[in-house]
């Protein structure tokens, strides 16, 4: 195990430690923005797997199988997912694990949102037989304990890989900030109730948003993890960028266009519910106002 400066550092150095030039790294998208550039910086070739709305943005064994070549080395597994809020249940992971074992691949499992699952408890792919030996698991305190600015994450995995990561870590950053490490120790010892309380608060906001979209007749699958919701805006005939820009200019509300998370995010926008319910209500009123206007324009 290695303590890192946020999960972001762990992603970067894990890739740098593991890939050789020309190796292919499988990246399901829409997903967090740094996987693809980190893979490129490490000299690998990023291979994008486009996740489907109709699969609730889960990765299927078939999609994985189709993307594998003899150069494939690592699958990045970003669940619970930013920006879609999608999760992978045990049965989904078992199907993935089978393909990983068959092709003798590694997994970089970014589980930074593991504490934020709203239906059942999060299952990590390391809990599937045979996966612990070939998985680097990444987590941190930014989401579970809302310690984003404290920059503290960690990577767990096979000793041989962690040792190589440790070298890069020492040369480029020395150590994760010790002030944050002491704070995180306290968070682990005494913070469980707060995590539970926040999970409940996020869950309330999540239900509110799902309901609000239903009322607005805005197509959206129900997300079960993270604190994002990813409604579809194709009906308006605008790109994600155009929608987000107009919404910002006309209603002064910022949303992230789905394309920020990969080309296949086109036609979607990401809404974060890390903000308070009171503020979300105002935002939803403005969104309703905005989409009513768009519908009238057509």
């Amino acid at each position: 195990m290695l303590v890192t400066v946020g999960g972001s550092e762990a992603i970067d150095i894990a890739l740098r430690a593991m890939v050789d030039p020309g190796d292919e790294v499988l990246i399901p998208q829409p997903s967090y923005v740094s996987y693809e550039p980190c893979a490129v910086l490490a000299g690998a070739k990023p291979v994008i797997i486009e996740l489907k709305h109709e699969n609730q943005f889960r990765l299927t064994a078939q999609e994985l199988e189709d993307a594998i070549t003899d150069k494939t080395k690592i699958l990045i597994l970003p669940f619970p997912n930013n920006p879609t809020g999608a999760i992978m249940e045990r049965k989904d992971l078992e199907a993935i694990a089978e393909v990983i074992l068959k092709h003798d691949l590694f997994v970089l499992s970014d589980e930074i949102y593991a504490e934020l699952c709203y239906t059942e408890k999060h299952v990590s792919i390391v809990n599937i037989d045979g996966m612990r030996e070939r998985t680097i698991l990444i987590n941190g305190f930014s989401k579970s304990h809302a310690m984003t600015g404290w920059r503290l994450g960690y990577a767990c995995g096979p000793k041989e890989i962690i040792e190589q990561m440790y070298k890069i870590h020492q040369f480029c950053i020395m150590c994760a900030p010790t002030t944050s490490q002491y704070a995180a120790i306290d968070a682990l010892k005494n913070g469980d109730e707060d995590v539970q309380m926040m999970r409940e608060a996020y869950n309330q906001r999540r239900r509110y948003l799902v309901h609000a979209f239903q009322e607005m007749k805005l197509e959206c699958f129900e997300p079960f993890g993270a604190f994002y919701i990813f409604p579809c805006i194709r009906e308006f005939g605008l790109t994600s960028d155009e929608f987000a820009t107009r919404f910002l200019n006309e209603e002064k509300v910022a949303v992230v266009p789905g394309t920020a998370f990969g080309d296949c995010g086109e036609g979607f926008i990401r809404i974060s519910y890390a903000y308070s319910l009171e503020k979300l209500k105002i935002a939803m009123e403005k969104l309703e106002h905005f989409i009513n206007r768009l519908r009238a324009e057509k």
Binding site: T148, G149, E200, Q204, R205, R207, Y208, H211, L277
Partner: protein, 160 residues
């Protein structure tokens, strides 16, 4: 469901019941029934408003009074507490462990009105041995809510 309803309405008793049902993922009728049941059982005792009277033109004086009493055979402290809490100007009465027995919270229009209550009504009760009146000078926080909020500069000071 009960505890979740309570934890929300304890902070916001005016929440729309439909919205409460949505955020808890329950049916609105179930919420309404559960709340009626809790009102019947006395779990929910009332829906009050937290007011900072300092910001109005109404003059009010609040005091906390420590009361030492002689417990009565067969009744303990209950009957004397009842005599005290029946006065409408009394806000709250608590039985306290430690140096005294009852803590009485009181609200009046003026210092004089409060001191009259103590001297005429409270200290004359035969079981009351002594009283100590503490006037409240400033309320910083009440019912979990900070009353005297500082102005915060919301501009971000660091690069996120």
């Amino acid at each position: 469901m009960r505890e979740k309803i309570l934890s929300i309405i304890e902070k916001n008793s005016r929440i729309d019941l439909r919205e409460l049902a949505i955020i808890l993922g329950e049916e609105e009728t179930d919420i309404v029934n559960e709340m009626e049941q809790m009102e019947k059982e006395g779990v929910i005792c009332g829906y009050h408003t937290l007011i900072d009277w300092e910001k109005t033109n109404v003059e009010k004086v609040s005091a906390l009074i420590e009361v030492r009493v002689t417990p009565q055979r067969g009744h303990g402290f209950d009957s004397i507490a009842e005599r005290i809490y029946k006065y409408p100007e009394v806000h709250a009465v608590y039985l306290i462990s430690g140096g005294y027995d009852l803590l009485v919270s009181l609200e009046g229009k003026s210092l004089k009105e409060v001191s009259n209550f103590v001297s005429d009504k409270l200290s004359t009760l035969d079981t009351v041995l002594s009283t100590a009146t503490h006037f409240i000078l400033k309320k910083y926080k009440d019912h979990g809510t900070i009353l005297d909020k500082k102005e915060v500069d919301e501009r971000i000071q660091v690069t996120p």
